[in-house]
């Protein structure tokens, strides 16, 4: 039960981290593009739009990320069962791969256009993929045993 709770908590933490950080990154890529288009962007505008996107966009993003991470981390767990790779590496790759695939699929479905405006540039897309890796690493870190020699170390990882 404790292991299950830890996995759930790790999953929730990784999803929340991805949704919040991903939202803020997308907001600021959008603002940077607007600035280049000639819009004056004040600090107050950045803060207000960040807050608005955390309310208006992050919940939807979290739901999509949760669905993707559920599959990606399950696959990551299976990979670790068969390959002796570092836990953090496996789940970071799973997180990054999940976001990359998600962005690709959204674009493919929508006639080649990115639906998340902050990912229209390579830098914007890479930022989301990088944050996916960080979120995967967070998941791996939380599900890791707290102390050396903790029971069921392998099982927790999977």
């Amino acid at each position: 039960v404790a292991e299950a709770r830890r996995i759930v908590a790790a999953f929730a933490a990784s999803v929340v981290a991805m949704a919040v950080a991903g939202t803020l990154a997308q907001t600021h890529f959008v603002l940077a593009a607007l600035e280049r288009a000639g819009a004056p962007i004040m600090l107050s505008d950045r803060l207000a739009m960040s807050a608005a996107d955390l309310v208006g966009f992050a919940p939807l993003y979290a739901a999509i990320v949760a669905a993707g991470f559920a599959v990606a981390f399950l696959v990551g767990g299976l990979v670790r069962k068969w390959l002796l790779l570092p836990r953090i590496l496996v789940f970071a790759v799973a997180g990054a791969g999940c976001i990359a695939l998600m962005l690709y699929l959204m674009q493919a479905v929508f006639f080649g256009i990115p639906l998340i405006a902050g990912t229209r540039t390579v830098a914007g897309a890479l930022s989301q993929i990088g944050l996916g890796a960080v979120a995967g690493a967070i998941f791996a870190k939380i599900i890791s045993p707290m102390r050396e020699g903790a029971p069921n170390q392998r099982n927790i990882a999977t």
Binding site: V30, D53, G112, I116, A117
Partner: protein, 366 residues
Amino acid sequence: VNVLRTFMIAAVTLFAASVPANAYEVEEVAGGLDHPWSLAFLPDGAFLVTERSGQLRRISVDGQISEPIAGVPDVLARGQGGLLDVMLAPDFATSGVLFLSYAYGSTAENGTALMRARLQEDRLVDTQTIFQAQPKRGGQHFGGRMALLDDGTILLTVGDGFAFRENAQNRSDHLGTIVRVAPDGSVPEDNPFAHEDGSAPEIWSHGHRNPQAILVDPSNGRVWAHEHGPRGGDELNIIRRGGNYGWPILTGGVDYSGARISPYGLDRADEFDFDNPAHVWTPSIAPGGMTLYNGDAFPEWRGNLFVSALAGQALHRLVLDDDKVVFEEVLLQDLGARLRDVRTGPDGFLYLLTDHDDGKLLRVRP
């Protein structure tokens, strides 16, 4: 003066609201059309209709649909792209000249284009591409509606390509603009940015998202256009030479994802020198076509703008007081159809196109 003006607007509004809802009926002229996009009225009473998948067809007075007219350009029939608008030249009866707008290219590289051609029986001849917007990728937001100015030049709306919204503020390409060209494709010397370094000379106005209707009021030369907002913020604008309509810096909508597009909503319009909309629809109705009614069949509707709605699945009647919308009535919701286009026929009836696999040409008559 203000009191008198208020009284007159109230009177107009009351009168407009008093038009009985059962004063008209809707009848089907033709069905089985593949996402019809635009129509034109031929001198003999027949219709020319474009289908987005790339066919131009003639529909006879009694609703018989012809085989596709030959000579139509290859179009990119993907996403919102395809064969779009059709407009007859003023001297069509003698010259047979017409204009077609369409999406050209591939998914990777495409844009809005304008063709001039001559209709000779069942084929287009003397075809000439007279304008091509610079290419972009993706299959969305082509604009593509035309209007003819008094001087014979053509206004063509060009969408922002969806993923390139900031380009609407950048006059170096055609995305998010309305362009003006002569019927032979040349650029009029008096275009506002024709002599500005770094600007595309065809641009007439910019800062647009996806304008899909444009018309000229023959009584005063005023140009009306509407454009799709994102989620909210559909706009009706009065188009002026050199105008900047603010997209995407100033918008009344948010992204489809729920994310903000800009920190600037329409409530902050006074912070900019943009041209502000005459009317806004939030939530979006997804405006498709538009006509300024000047027929005799519905005298009480003369001078009203009619806007067909796709997502809204209705016909919006807008009562104008000069450059302001003072009353709006939503009609034909009971049809349950996406309405792509609306036109005033020479007979004074309204004609509608429904945007479906089994699209219809409908007539609204007393």
